[in-house]
Each structure stands twice: as C-alpha cells, then as structure tokens.
C-alpha cells in the first residue's frame, strides 16, 4: 500500500458522499433521508479539512468545517421539527406518501 496522502482522504470522502446519496434516494423514511444528508455533510467536511492540510491554506478550511457543523445542527433541528409535524398530520413519515401541501 502506498503512503497515505491527499487522494486517500478524497476517495474516502467521495465514497461517503455516494453512500449518503444512496441513502437519500432509496430510503422512504424521512428520518433516514436526514441521516443521508448528515453523511453527505460529513464527507464535505472531510474534503474541507483535507484540503486545509494538504493545500496549505492555514486554518481557513477548518473554519469552514466548523461553520458546516453549525449549519448541520440548525438543519437537523428544523427538519426534525417538520418531520414531527408531518407525523402528527399524516401519521406516516414515508416521503413517497406525503404529496399534499394541505390536508
């Protein structure tokens, strides 16, 4: 095996991104779709930090990763509140069945 460099981290992040995408497109449960989004955000963060280290950008990349984590927290809170409301209204969280804007 060759010495670990930038490419290794990028390949790990691309596989993680694809797994997250797979979760988003195949799972029907809205909470599972959220988990897929978290995987995608994590893979983007790996890219930011890998380029911050190997591209010699100082700490800018790590700062962006911190901002992404903050946005992910806000997104998870809002999205789960919406999912709870959807569950109260439709008594299901299957994203294929929820296709009306008002009941």
């Amino acid at each position: 095996m060759i010495h670990v460099g930038l490419n290794h981290f990028l390949v790990v992040s691309s596989i993680l991104f694809s797994l997250g995408l797979f979760g988003i497109v195949t799972r029907k449960n809205a909470v599972m779709v959220l988990m897929g989004i978290e995987l995608v955000l994590n893979s983007a963060n790996i890219n930011f930090i890998a380029f911050a280290k190997y591209g010699n950008f100082g700490l800018q990349g790590q700062m962006m990763a911190l901002f992404v984590i903050v946005l992910a927290a806000a997104e998870a809170a809002i999205a789960l509140a919406i999912v709870l409301n959807i569950y109260k209204t439709f008594s299901t969280v299957n994203v294929d069945e929820i296709d009306t804007l008002k009941d």
Binding site: V4, I15, M35, N56
Partner: protein, 162 residues
C-alpha cells in the same frame, strides 16, 4: 506501512463500513446507532488530518446533539404496530448502479487530478488559532451564525409544539 497509514485505514474502514450499514440496514434504530460509529470514524479522520478542535466539536455537536435529535425523531415517529420497513427493490437497483458510477467517477477525478504538491501544514494545536480567527477575521460570520442558530432553535420549538 507506517503507524499513520494504519490508523488512517482503521478509521476509514470504521467510517465506510458503518456508513454502509446506515444506509442498507432495515431497522432504522440500528441505522441511527451505526451513524454513531460513522461520526466517530470521521472524528478520527479529522484528528489524523491535524484538526483536533474540529474533531472535538464533531464529537460534541454530532454525537451529543444531532444524533440524539435523530434518535428522538426515530422514536417519536415509529409506531411499533405499524412498522413499514419494506423497501421496493425496483428503486434499489437503479440507485445502486447510479451511485456506484457516481462514486467511481468522483474518485477517478480526485485521483487523476494533478494536485499541486505543497508542504503540508504542520500538526499543531489549533484551538487557540481558531479562537483568535473567530473573534477577529470571522467575527461577523460568527455573530451571524449565532443569530441563525437562535432563529433556527426558536423556529424548531415553535414548529414542534403546534
């Protein structure tokens, strides 16, 4: 193979294997718990990239906050009597082919791009430097993110208790 390489492969394996289980396992509660291992693996990758503070934030915010929120979401929206875990296989095959092609394409682009070789940033403690940047260079962004989080939490609370 040095110790650094070994630790990288260990964390990469933890991350990818548990992420695979997150998206494929049928029981959504197990998925949420595998997500825990994915977050731990990603935190390990941050550490071997020299981002110690971001790794700790990842552990505190993701594992301590977001994962608990997701578990609440799972528990509050799963009726035990009405568990629908069947997924139609018609969507899985096209999704697998498409996502595999996408992953291959992305990895090929990453591997074949001639990245400029630069000296890697030396591994130093980053907490102090990040803190100084947060109140000087990124001060406005920091304040805006604080306001955004406040708005998001108020919005989430008012949405959820309607």
């Amino acid at each position: 193979m040095t110790l650094y390489d070994f630790i990288f492969y260990l964390f990469a394996a933890i991350t990818l294997v548990s992420a695979f289980f997150v998206v494929t396992i049928r029981n959504i509660v197990y998925s949420a718990f595998f997500l825990l291992f994915t977050f731990f693996g990603v935190a390990g990758i941050y550490i071997i990239l020299g981002a110690d503070f971001v790794a700790m934030v990842q552990l505190i915010v993701y594992v301590g906050g977001i994962l608990i929120l997701i578990l609440f979401g799972v528990m509050l929206t799963n009726k035990i009597t009405n568990v629908q875990i069947k997924t139609r296989t018609s969507t899985i095959l096209p999704a697998t082919i498409g996502v595999a092609m996408f992953a291959g394409l992305l990895s090929a682009i990453f591997v074949n791009t001639p990245w400029r070789k630069m000296d890697t940033t030396p591994m130093l403690p980053t907490t102090q430097a990040l803190g100084v940047m947060l109140i000087s260079e990124y001060g406005i962004v920091f304040e805006l993110l604080g306001i955004l989080l406040l708005i998001a939490l108020i919005g989430a609370a008012s949405l959820a208790r309607k």
